[in-house]
Amino acid sequence: MDAQTPRETPDVIFETKDLVISAVRENEPDLPIVKGVSFQVHKGEVVALIGESGSGKTTISLSALGYCKPGLEFSSGEANLLGRNIAGLSTDELRPSRGINVAYLAQSAAATFNPSIRINEQVTEAPVLHGTKSQDEANAKALELYGALDLPDPDTIGERYPHQVSGGQLQRLMAAMALCGDPDLLVLDEPTTALDVTTQIEVLKAFKKVIKDEGAAAIYVTHDLAVVAQIADYIVVLYSGEVKEAGPTDVIINNPKHPYTKRLMAAIKPLPEPGLGEATAADTGETPTLEVRNADAGYGQRADGQPIVKVLKDINVRVEHGKTVGVIGESGSGKSTLARVMAGLLPASTGEVFMNGELLPADLTKRTKDQLRKIQFVYQMADTALNPRQRIKDILGRPLSFYFGMSGSKRRSRVLELLDMVELPSQFADRYPHELSGGQKQRVNLARALAAEPEVVLCDEVTSALDTIVGANVIDLLTRLQKDTGVAYVFISHDLSTVASFADEIVVLYQGEIVEQGPTDMVLSPPHQPYTDLLISSVPETRIGWLEEAIAARHERNLRSADN
């Protein structure tokens, strides 16, 4: 930079040049995690880093803060923030620029805010601490940001504590915190992944507007291409620490060249068009394999036997043999509770659960071994669902010995058969869960349920923790297994497009009540219930300009409902 001209923000805010970041290992050569990555972030631009877990996207984004996770180090290359190479600088050297030149937005706002300090104090902390703004100036800036982020009661929201606002609001407040110091660069790490789709749309809109108005540059890290299409100007596709393809958003979305990008695009399941979903026969009169009638359930117990907090109200669900019932709703809608009632983990306070026309005891301890065998549960987090101290062969073998009394070579060969069914190699039998990747663990989780030869498998958000491609593979596997074994699924998810792509019937839950239920085709076809409509219109499409259309449509709907 010419020394004569006043300091001005250069056009290139951040760039990496052949950046290599490695894991330091004892007695072994360092293991590169990021293998020579180069890209630039220009002023006023949003650059998205996309890839699955393990692709190094978060590690690269943190290099913009000059930070490496413990056990990693900058090996070579440059990470230039405003023209200064910050790779390998000490914390003391980096501190003046953090919060001022560059700010970081984490995935979980709930974990980022201190629960016992008022919001405003936390939002204004960075610029006041760095001395770039007085408390009054910072307050004024925060107030302006609250308004720009469409937060309710912008004048008073800063006086509240973090637990007094909703998750979506807290996420936006975190954006205010990051932007309060007028940073040149904003690093956003999966900022909407933990949010419901209906909330995500508001947050995305607010982020987009604020980044544009403030003229900040941003690095947006995510695995969700649909979100990226809405917010990014430029996309960097990463796989295994290498750039596979990079280019302007419209090129990457509409005309991907690299096979990996093509695979990423192919893994996205678009919402089926109404009328194109699988046609489902009307009530066949057949006895359903699992049926929930007039069930209420909740937590805590009042003197009259009713729960203190009612989570489910008057639920009726029929699961036919070999069919899939999709249960969708936002967090807190009671969809997981429904699965727990079916499994008997949480006895219904009123109402009954039937299996093949036979009344099941509400409490699982009173169910017979055979009744238990016929309903199996697959959990969301494969990490906690598999005992870390048991080998895969023991995890899969236990239901075999427990329900069928198998042992020795018979059990061993059945375990291998099960591994084969879920497309895992037989040598995995002797491994421990931590030696497997996330998707592989989820397959073991599924194989354990199938080992019991159940009639119904309850799948609680089984793909939510997985990357797009891995999740799509698990869905394909579920579909194939249903064809082969005739098992019925209750598939619980907050992701409408995943549910719609393979469920025969959909149940829409809202605040513990069923607002709509019926064959997938029917639920997706208009006229919709207002809530279903909101859900359907909130599912992001991998199409540039979708966000603006969705917001306009939502706005119009609100106007119409206000008129009525």
Binding site: L31, E245, N387, H434, A452, I544
Partner: protein, 307 residues
Amino acid sequence: MSAPVHHPHVVAPFDENVSFDELPDAPPSQAYRPTLTGWIGIIITCFWLFIAVFGSFLAPYGENALPFPDDYAEFQSPKEGASLGTDVEDRDVLSRVMYGAGRTIGISFAATLLAYFVGVVLGIGAAVSGPRVDMVMSRINDAFLSLPTIMLGLVVVAAVGSSIPVLILTAGMIYASVVFRLSRAIGMEIMVMDYVEAAKVRGEGRWWIITREIWPNARMPLITDFGLRLIYVILFISSLSFLGLGVQPPQADWGSMVRENLGALQYGESQLAVIAPAVAIATLTVSINLIVDDVSAHGGGKLSKRM
């Protein structure tokens, strides 16, 4: 949205036939390898364990033998035939430290084992039982915890008299309440894991859940805490002995040796008779601590935080 000019479209070279396998999760954690401080702890602890087992055979003199029967004097300085000098009754300090090692470590180890057996069985039992049973057990345990340990020990020993079995029982019971709390907390933490719920949904009985799902996962933190607890019991037994209520003379034990030789500090020709057993207590407890810290640091510091 128009494409910014300064961003070219870059495509990495590729081979159509290469498939993109799922990337592995973080590499599995490495097996525990002691660091330098860990090794120091291991070496000193092993040294004392060796002395505890074989000390009575290797000691140059008997526990109460006089090395210089013709030249009786208390607190003699180290010399030929008594490398650490003599104590208040002119006995060989080195031999008594070696005899005392077996007694101090043996009693403490037995007491800690007892504390662990009682504490873990009841603690894990409370964790898997219903909230009512857990409530009753925890409140009774809280009452025990509220009693000052040394006072409780003093009262028991004063009431029933001091003998080695009484010492083991007393220390074991006092520390069982601490172990109860820890194992209950660890058990509770594991009880809410999905794999335990999966076992319940499968219809597994309580015994399976305790032995196959909870114990294998609770084992490591509890074993690490065992070392730490052993230190407290050694200090407790030594304190009781120092107060004269532990191991009774003429039997040697590090705590009672410090007490009976206290006079050396004031008027002894050599102070080693009181320093040697004190150093023995210090080196043993510090070295066990070094091992525990090293193992906890390997586990990401989670274990030390929980204690």
